[in-house]
């Protein structure tokens, strides 16, 4: 309940910035939300509490989107100190949400929870399909982006050097996501027409059982102490991330090059885009989170594009939770990159047609 009230207070804060009452309530409710959530996480996941916990995790992710308390907004703060991205809760949270979700999936399936709908829903696949239908390659931005990133100076390694293997919750979550990527056969099954011999409910049940088996196996594998997360070269890491960002960049490009506001034609696509934008930080765990916290220029460039797309694609009446963050972070990352001598310019407009991605 505190999370619900906190989100409502944040929404009211965004609608009535002049009324300090709501901002004050938000500040009061926030620690209570975190405390309740932390205490609840210490209990084992059961049929009774898993829906509430996952729902609260989603709400806390919205709260983290809106909360910019980590930024140093004082007037005399140095531009590079202002960003302070290593304290951004939005990216700290992702391992928690990923692990909670994976542990909850088998329970949701056994219980027949409403959350199983989310298992069947794949916003990225829907968006990619819609882009193919428009004659646009959803992975259009992957190669140009990788080229740009390989030209950028890095504090640690070039794109080809594999990172050392790491442990910890963030890397375990990364292992889960990578494992899911390899076992994604049911994604395709969901979007394909089912065999005529199978009824719809029977087919859904079969897919859910498969998902449950895969997720349970992966959780057991990743939870063991000696589990090793496979190392990624920075190239494969950034490719993984940009592949998720590229369809959104394509839509942003369509939005600027056509008169169709937002570039999306239906409510369903709008909802898919929104879910993909909301969930993108959840994917940013493991080695990519490490790059973000180290404020690696390459990670900052990816985040810059992400926040730019957020500002472009979310419709005004549904972007209250993301609007301030996207504007402010875009501005601060640009300043940070300028301070490092990286004058990065990505012309999304008409990029689908003339590939005018540039490193100026």
């Amino acid at each position: 309940m505190s999370a619900i009230l906190c989100i409502a207070a944040m929404h009211l804060t965004s609608l009535n910035p002049e009324n300090a009452k709501y901002a004050r309530v938000t500040t009061q409710l926030l620690p209570r939300v975190i405390n309740f959530f932390r205490k609840s996480l210490s209990h084992p996941l059961t049929e009774e509490n898993c829906e509430a916990l996952v729902g609260t995790a989603l709400l806390i992710n919205y709260i983290s989107w809106f909360d910019l308390g980590f930024l140093d907004t004082s007037q005399n703060a140095h531009p590079t100190a202002k960003l302070n991205i290593s304290q951004d809760q939005l990216f700290f949270l992702s391992p928690c949400i990923v692990q909670l979700w994976f542990q909850a999936i088998p329970i949701f399936i056994d219980k027949g929870s409403i959350f199983t709908d989310i298992i069947f829903h794949h916003p990225r696949l829907h968006i990619e399909e819609a882009l193919w239908q428009r004659g646009v390659n959803p992975q259009h931005f992957v190669l140009p982006f990788i080229q740009i990133l390989s030209d950028l100076p890095s504090q640690h390694s070039n794109l080809g050097t594999p990172e050392t293997v790491n442990y910890g919750p963030s890397f375990r979550s990364w292992g889960l996501l990578s494992g899911l990527e390899k076992e994604n056969s049911w994604h395709k099954e969901c979007s394909q027409p089912r065999p005529a011999s199978l009824s719809e409910s029977h087919n859904d049940e079969r897919i859910l059982m498969h998902v449950k088996d895969v997720v349970t196996t992966m959780c057991i594998k990743c939870s063991s102490e000696d589990s090793v997360v496979p190392s990624n070269s920075p190239r494969s890491l950034f490719t993984y991330i940009i592949r998720r960002l590229s369809p959104l960049l394509c839509y942003a490009s369509l939005a600027t090059s056509t008169s169709n506001a937002g570039g999306y034609s239906s409510l369903a696509q709008q909802s898919d885009i929104e879910q993909l934008l909301f969930g993108f930080p959840i994917l940013c765990c493991g080695p990519f989170a490490k790059s973000i916290f180290e404020e690696d220029s390459r990670a900052l460039v990816i985040l810059l594009q992400f926040y730019h797309v957020v500002g472009k694609l979310l419709p005004p009446n549904r972007r209250w939770w993301a609007h301030t963050r996207s504007c402010l972070m875009e501005e601060l990352i640009i300043k940070e990159l300028e301070c490092r001598g990286v004058n990065f310019c990505l012309y999304i407009k008409d990029c689908l047609f003339d590939s005018s991605l540039n490193l100026v």
């Binding site: 409502a8 009211l12 829906e51 729902g55 989603l58 209250w320």
Partner: protein
Amino acid sequence: MFIRHPSNAMNQGSMPNTSIPVSFTNTILLPYTRGEVPRIHTIGNTNELRKKRAHTKSRRGCFACKLRKVKVRLDTIALHQMCLLNSSLILQCDECLPCSRCVKRNIKCQTSPSGLPVAPVFSKASPNLEIDLHPQISLLHLELFHHWDRETRLTLSFPQVWPVIMQHSFHVYTHIPFSEKLCLRLLNIGPVYYVRHSMHCRYAPHIP
């Protein structure tokens, strides 16, 4: 939430439900939907108001019994002595100090948490519009919940899960149902925006 307004019952347009024999009047404050104002809907026989059952309310019970909602018995002393002798008889609070139930449960018996006697007084304080962390529900909480239900959740992804999460939130919030606490607070605070909850039914997410 059914709020009975006997004085209004005669004035409002009534829509008696003929299928159920009703011998009293209930006036319901219906919440507004977009573009409408809250309206009052009267059910039942508008000529006959519901009669209130008479009862005597005691305010002298100990704090532990009040907390546990133990009924109070007013013919006390003899019963108290009897209960002390035979603990199986203890069913109600006898209002003695210490009372029989506290003696039986071996807990401290006091008339209020601070030990001071509790007197029935009317609060002269102004309505609480700020978050008060100790009494957990305030009018501002209600305003926030109203806003969540009417506006905020419609702007979030995963629309199918929020009704379920709301149901859970009432169960896990405290041991006392949220709706009851809200209603009690509202009765003390004053003006009602609207309440969608029955005192006896937990949250019903799809009431129009």
